[in-house]
Symmetry: C2
């Protein structure tokens, strides 16, 4: 069902020197399914992270944020259960998983980052996960398998690689992500892990990650629901070339940004029930923030999203969403609206030259662009989203049962 | 499909002395369908109104707000076309409808309030409406017919009456409303008209209306989309008893509030695709505004609404929505959550005594209550909403085609 998203070609996924991967079937929620991932880092690795802004953040997120301050040795991810809304016991359970992995690796539990994704407010089946950990230490370098091990309602595993030439030699960047519903990242999105063998300082690593997250994962939405478990982790193992200069850092940031954008868009393409992939560009605003506000008002309107699904250019719904965006002093008589190259509205009303069949032709494509011009400044913003179909309701009405 | 909402019994709808009603089939969008309503007021009538906060407010809303300052003689409502996102021509079209009615009634166009509801961003078929106006001047006192004439995707006409005994005698309050989608009123909801024969000052009338709107129409949501055409009008014809004392005013406000609450809830019960009517009570907050914020975060989450539809107590989604509500400093370890009498969560985590079958039993009913205790103050707020079903997508994907 995913929109223009074939499964990744295993040959395209580059191993990252300094990263070992292992997956297991721990039976967290269902049997015979990869549901546990261990990612182990080499000795020179620096790790950065950004996490959900949901105040009900999950127990593993609380621990991961804390453990990130230490010398991180590995991370462990389970699907099937989010260990969120689980109170004090949730924290103890997440710590027990860290302890189990630490004892196998010969390090401290505080050097492990734990992650969970799945159903909220049910106790973590910690015994099954602990029993699964040794089985997740066997494989190596299989990024596709790692991507599969973190899927929940995803229909396609999400992974992407890029090479980048720095002054000291070639570095690789490889990342995986999962997520299809409860997607409206606030700092990052539900579980994405990106690794590079480049060498850079912790401070540079964190600032690169924050800038990249802002331009990629923080620009997508499926249903406007920010998850309790959103986490984006960037690890640099330092086994490849060092980022020596500003130019190296910039090139590396572009490469990491490419991987992050590919993964973020993959999450929308595989959004629950998605049949359309829609880019929303809001331009000529006063500030970036107000452009984002307008873009999200469009992307979150159930009426707009069902019109996308129907390929019905009921585009007045987009005007209504713009009017609801809450931007102070917005002059609606200046609004200009396009779908791909078709001008729908000018000066806040229907373009006299607009022909509905042109808009229908654009909307029938699996990918199209909505472009809004506010005509009050020079700022702009982009948001990627999907439509709202019968299958979104079906998937979410039947998720647990 | 509406939830516990039988059509109004015509005998229960009380005529309001000083109000004449007429409906016609003008063929605005479809033939053989009541789509035009004229409501004419007696000479002593005072009229108050509250309107949408959507910045893309429709042409008739702009005129109605302006004409409200004059001595209002009548209002005219068409369905099938919202005359929104129609620019300057939309204003001229709305004015032409006012002029047509004014010429029949022998008054000024500025004494007419125009209202439109239906598809956005299409030109108003003003000739057909003007031709229909004389036919809408023939009937009297048929409130049920009036309610039918303003329906769009509504499946049930919405009308309600109450008597109230004031010191000077008995007054009546009768109201009608329409709306099923694009419902998240900000000052009022899409087209509701309430009339009473009581006599009170314009100033009292407006302040009664604003307080009532806040407690009724501004507490409902279907899909979080605030319409471009929301209008709530309260007319007092002054042909009945006068509201002399504070006590009279209070009794009248309660009666008007009863009518408004009935109509507001009727809109949610008949929400597009609704199969459940859900009351969300948020209590023990610091301020009313933050309680409303939490209640709307729950009521607008597509994941929560699809869980309502499935009768699936996947109630962690409610915790996630609370965490996303944006209330500053919210301590999630204090949150308590009930569905009807079943305590689901305590201290931010699942109640150890919670049994899922109890929650399922509650959610299978067509009406239930979600109760959230924030435990940080004494304020509370209530929001009424419905679930999110296959039919919501179906109705909105097929609305125009």
């Amino acid at each position: 069902m995913a929109v223009n998203l074939p499964p990744p070609d295993p040959a395209s996924l580059l191993p990252v020197p300094g990263v070992d991967l292992g997956v297991a079937m721990a039976g967290v929620r269902k049997a015979n399914r990869k549901d546990l991932l261990v990612m182990r880092f080499g000795p020179h690795t620096r790790v950065a992270g950004v996490f959900t802004q949901n105040r009900f953040c999950a127990a593993p997120v609380i621990l991961a944020r804390k453990h990130l301050k230490n010398d991180v040795q590995a991370l462990v991810v389970n699907t099937g259960n989010a260990n969120a809304g689980t109170g004090k016991r949730g924290l103890e359970d997440a710590m027990r998983v860290c302890e189990a992995l630490a004892s196998h690796l010969g390090c401290e539990a505080q050097q492990i980052l734990p992650f969970s994704t799945g159903v909220i407010m049910e106790p973590l089946p910690v015994e099954r996960i602990v029993a699964g950990v040794p089985h997740a230490l066997l494989h190596k370098d299989d990024w596709l398998s790692a991507a599969e091990a973190i899927m929940t309602t995803d229909t396609v595993p999400k992974a992407y690689s890029r090479k980048v030439r720095l002054s000291g030699g070639q570095a690789v960047v490889t990342g995986i992500a999962k997520g299809a519903g409860m997607i409206r990242p606030d700092m990052a999105t539900l579980l994405a892990f990106i690794a590079t063998d480049a060498r850079l300082s912790s401070r540079n690593l964190q600032s690169v990650l924050e800038r990249v997250a802002k331009r990629t994962f923080n620009c997508v939405t499926v249903d406007g629901d920010t998850s309790t478990n959103d986490s984006l982790i960037l690890a640099a193992t330092g086994e490849g070339p060092r980022a020596r200069s500003r130019r190296d850092l910039l090139k590396l940031e572009v490469a990491i940004g490419d991987v992050a954008r590919h993964l973020a868009q993959a999450i929308v393409r595989d959004g629950e029930g998605a049949t359309k992939f829609v880019t929303i560009d809001v331009e000529r605003g006063r500030r970036v923030e107000e452009c984002r506000q307008v873009a999200y008002a469009i992307a979150h309107s159930p009426l707009v999203k069902t019109a996308f699904f129907a390929s019905d250019p009921n585009l007045g719904r987009i005007l209504a969403a713009i009017g609801n965006s809450g931007v102070a002093g917005l002059d609606t008589t200046k609004i200009e609206l396009y779908i791909d190259a078709v001008r729908v509205a000018i000066a806040g009303a229907r373009d006299p030259a607009y022909r509905e069949e042109d808009a229908i032709a654009a909307m029938k494509k699996p990918e199209f662009r909505i472009r809004v011009l506010l005509h009050r400044g020079m700022a702009s913003a982009t948001v990627w989203t999907c439509d709202f179909s019968f299958d979104y309701v079906k998937i979410n009405a039947e998720y647990r049962t």
